[in-house]
């Protein structure tokens, strides 16, 4: 058997994995009966169906030809993810303003080109705008500066 449609092959495998995952985890909950369906009933049925669908998709990928999977680009993936996580977990300790600066600088590395001066200006503009709109205007309860200095 040869993989003729790699996109479908991997998609099918992904569905099988997700299906089995939900099926296995649902074993921790009660199945119940048709009258009193337990918490495991619905997810088990769905997980099973999805695994079967995944298997059919994998099978089809060996028969019908399809285009190859385009290359993954890890640079934007990495910097965008890192920027978001840093922002989330730095907002409370560092305050809104510094967390925003971190977010903008880190994600800008994921772009096509990094122009330090431009990013710095963008940071200032976005921070002013966000503080005015979100903190002053919509009164979101974010600390502006690190706890110690406020």
């Amino acid at each position: 058997m040869k993989i003729k449609s790699p996109k479908d092959f991997w998609a099918g495998l992904m569905f099988i994995a997700f299906g089995l995952f939900f099926l296995v985890v649902a074993r921790n909950y009660q199945m119940g009966s048709a009258v009193r369906m337990g918490p495991a009933y619905f997810p088990s049925v769905l997980g099973g169906i999805m695994a079967v669908l995944g298997a059919i998709i994998v099978f089809q990928s060996m028969i019908f030809a399809g285009p190859p999977i385009p290359k993954l680009s890890f640079k934007p993936l990495f910097f965008i993810s890192l920027a978001l996580v840093l922002f989330g977990y730095l907002l409370k300790p560092l305050g809104f303003i510094l967390a925003l600066a971190v977010l903008i600088f880190v994600c800008a590395f994921g772009g096509h080109e990094f122009r330090a001066k431009e990013v710095a200006m963008l940071t200032v503009v976005l921070i002013i705008f966000s503080v005015l709109v979100f903190v002053k205007g919509l009164t979101l309860p974010f600390p502006l500066w690190p706890e110690k200095f406020s």
Binding site: Y29, Q30, G38, P39, T139, P141, S150
Partner: protein
Amino acid sequence: MKRILVLLALLAGAAGAGAQSWPSKPVRLICPYPGGPVDISSRVIAQKLQEALGQPVVVELKPGAGGVIAADYVAKSAPDGYTLLMGAIATHAINPALMPSLPYDPIRDFRHVALVVQVPNVLIVNTDLPAKNVRELVAYAKSRPGKLDFGSGSTGSTGHLAGELFKQMTGTFMVHIPYKASAPAVLDLISGRLHLMFDNLASSLPNIKAGKVRALAVTTRMRTDFVPELPTLDESGLKGFDMTTWWGVMAPAKTGNDIVARLSGEILRALDSADTKERLRTMGSETPSVRSPEAFTAFIESEKALYAKLVKVSGAKPD
């Protein structure tokens, strides 16, 4: 005269606090239930506190896990009076009984500042049901074991537990149908898909008045002055039946006495003011009977004991 006394008492309190300059920055009131009556009353109280304390009082939403996330957050916050909780019957009386591993202790981890809202529940039935009072309902249910359905806003809610207690005290057997909120359950009650439910008085009052549902009794020990002609379950043969939904302001355990006293005083003053009273009243709240931090703690202790017992007898548990 009374006002002058209060003023003097406040001045004395302020003098006692001395070096303490609380509050010198915005105070956060954490609310576990966005969008509902708890959220709304939090904002009513926050606005009054803000006027009285001279610092912004911001309501911050922290939903999740039936209020556990918010309560746990405040329990572990700095006890400096800047982080408060709108704690409720679920976070402080029902969850401890339902959830085996609660991350906080509802009594020891908190200062219970002031009870803000107390709402009675009411037993309502579909209008096609022949039962006109509680006795007739019990007889009707007994002649049809397992045939009647009662709805509730969620598993483990006061509506659910009231139904289970009702079943247990009357020896009837009915099926509990849980919903995601009480509104869709009321809809199914009006249209006859459910037979009865225990709902909060404020939200069912309009439908009771419009004759869309029939009210048989209130769940509180005393009759409510919203519908004085409505009997209590206690006087309808279910001796000792007493359930109220409530919520109030709490602070982390080590919060100073002067802060708790100041907050409690300001909240009580707000609750006694005509406009706040009126606003909370339209939400179905009676003026709280509990009027000091100590009494509030005692009240929560008794509620916690009540629901521990109730959850046990009803067998209600998250499986």
